[in-house]
């Protein structure tokens, strides 16, 4: 008589095959997921640095001041010239949007999750006769998979 059923050997073989398939699939998801996260964070950091550098070029020379490490958190940070308000959809204060949980919950959560901060390292050199140059290192820091990440870029702003 043919006995239908699953033998222990069959179950073990099936589980072994499942594990062999599952491990690379899991690692594939893991690797690709981490890459996506890294890429997203890197792009976001580069975007933040670009926004800061553009503001530095436009703002008064004397207003460019040091923001020491560990820097300012972008979420719920006090009003600053770079990110708060981050956007204004109108000509009045009514359209102002800040990076807060109420105004921009998704962005706020993202910044909280990754602890994005920025810092400015400013070196001021005066050559006399009003000839001054500021070398500014823009430092964007965040946390990613348990590591402290940093993105650095530099701009030179002349007083002239």
């Amino acid at each position: 008589m043919i006995r239908r059923g699953l033998s222990l050997t069959e179950i073990i073989i099936a589980l072994a095959i499942a594990v062999m398939v599952m491990v690379p699939v899991t690692s594939m998801f893991s690797t690709s997921g981490q890459q996506v996260q890294k890429s997203r964070n890197f792009s976001f950091a580069a975007g933040l640095a670009r926004r800061i550098s553009q503001h530095l070029m436009a703002m008064p020379f004397e207003n460019i001041v040091e923001v020491p490490l560990p820097g300012l958190a972008l979420h719920d940070s006090p009003d600053d010239v770079f990110f708060n308000p981050i956007v204004n959809f109108s000509a009045s204060q009514s359209g102002v949007k800040k990076i807060t949980a109420s105004d921009m919950p998704a962005l706020h959560d993202f910044l909280v999750q990754n602890d994005f901060k920025y810092a400015l390292s400013v070196s001021n050199v005066s050559f006399g006769a009003g000839d001054e140059i500021k070398s500014i290192s823009i430092l964007i820091t965040w946390k990613e998979a348990g590591r402290n990440m940093i993105y650095r870029t530099h701009v030179y702003v002349s007083s002239v």
């Binding site: 008589m1 059923g5 602890d115 140059i133 820091t141 946390k143």
Partner: protein
Amino acid sequence: MKAQFDEFTRRATALLNEPGILEKRPAWQIVKAGAISLAPVAENAVTQLEPEIALIFLLASTFTGSKRDSLLKSLFGAAMNRLPSDNFIRLMSKFSQAELKDNLLPFVYESGPRGSIACFVAARLKVTLATEAFQYFLSARAWSPTDLMNLSLLVKPEEASALCSHLEKFVPANDSKVLRDNINEFRYAVQNHLAHEPMLPELADGETSPPPSAPARAGETMRPPQPAPVTAKPLAPISQSTPSVSAPIQTNRAEAAGKPNLSQKIPETLPTEVPAEKSEGPGRPNQSQPQSQAQAKPKSESLDVALHIPESIRRLLLPVGLTMLFLTLGIIYSTWYFSDPEVMTSTTPATAGRAPSQWVDAVSQRPVTARYLAADKDFRMGELFLTRDKFAEALKLFEDALAAEPAHLQALVRSGYCRMQLGDNKKAAEIFRRALSADAGLSSVNLYLGRIHLAANDNAAAEKHFRAEFKLSADLTSGMELANFLNRAGKQNEAMELIAELQEKHPGKMLVLAPTGSENKTERGGDQP
């Protein structure tokens, strides 16, 4: 007559050996013609031909009605004396359910091997019975556990519960304990779907194999594995006080699971008959099966996991189980992956407001320390002084940077450059060599060293560094520097070839070698690293 039978046997055997559907085999028409020719002696044919050939004869013949039924009954009756071959059972399946019910099922009433075999064959042929029929079958004779299992396969699945209810009402009306036990066992088997496949009936030795005179058939090799037959011992006739059932040949799944069972384990030595009164168990009869030690067949050592769940669900267990496993692991992994432990650490007062001692540079993936960042600030400031050719001030800042972080290679190279511009070539060369030993791939360093060696009239060393720089950078500045050096060193041809090569790469520029006697003046802005 014998010649006719022989001829028909030959053709029918040829038919059996052909592949394909029986009625579509090439020999089928010939066999049909032969069957028609044997019609006048049909009774003789059924009795004298081999069972399979006789069955083909009946399939191919044009008999209808009572004559066909009587022939079939006669053939089945003869065939049920021994366990028919697979081929025979397959041929039987060509008959309609009605024909099988009318001509095969009557043998199920018979006690002894014919009844067991008929029950087994009916189960193999998936014959089903009306609910009311079972009480008559169960009342007709003694039932071995195997026969009961086979009989339970004749129940239509959708009528199983109705049958159980029906039999439940039927039990108290019977005085016979044996019958009540039979019915209870049968109900249990039906209710719990214990039988999945027909089980070989319990037969004596000579009844398990087809007649030795049967011709070799391909189907016989496909016979399901048969257990070792019990010693020849005819089944005892049923009696009210001492019912006897033969020992089961094979272990069913209920035994493997240790559940209340139709056939309990076989003791090593048992009397040939056991009184029915020894059966016990609440609601479930415990039949001890008489069997001698020689008859006892050891249970096969099987790793089968016997799961008493419906077949359809059991077949789904593996894929469903694996799917659930995957989903569970996926959920666990996703929960872990998308959880944000950093959120907790970032908001904890212990770490808030305190800068980490080290970061990972998102571009280079190298570690960046707070000390390095402090040194970098001095370095940037020194760069500002370089924009105004204030080498002394710049050198101080670069050295400050190196004091804070000796591994700041850019500050090291810049300090060497400042020293070179300030005329301290010896110290500058030392700094450049240090930088090259730290990173041989630093650009511009070989260029500066070449210039220092050229100024010291060490053409060989200068050429080595110029070539190294051009190999590293392969840009216009290092190429022109090398070409001018070669020209001044008397290697005009090589210098011209290099200029031609550079010109080809930079068609938008007009490249000329410097006059041989002139100094190699270098603009500061163009050769900085």
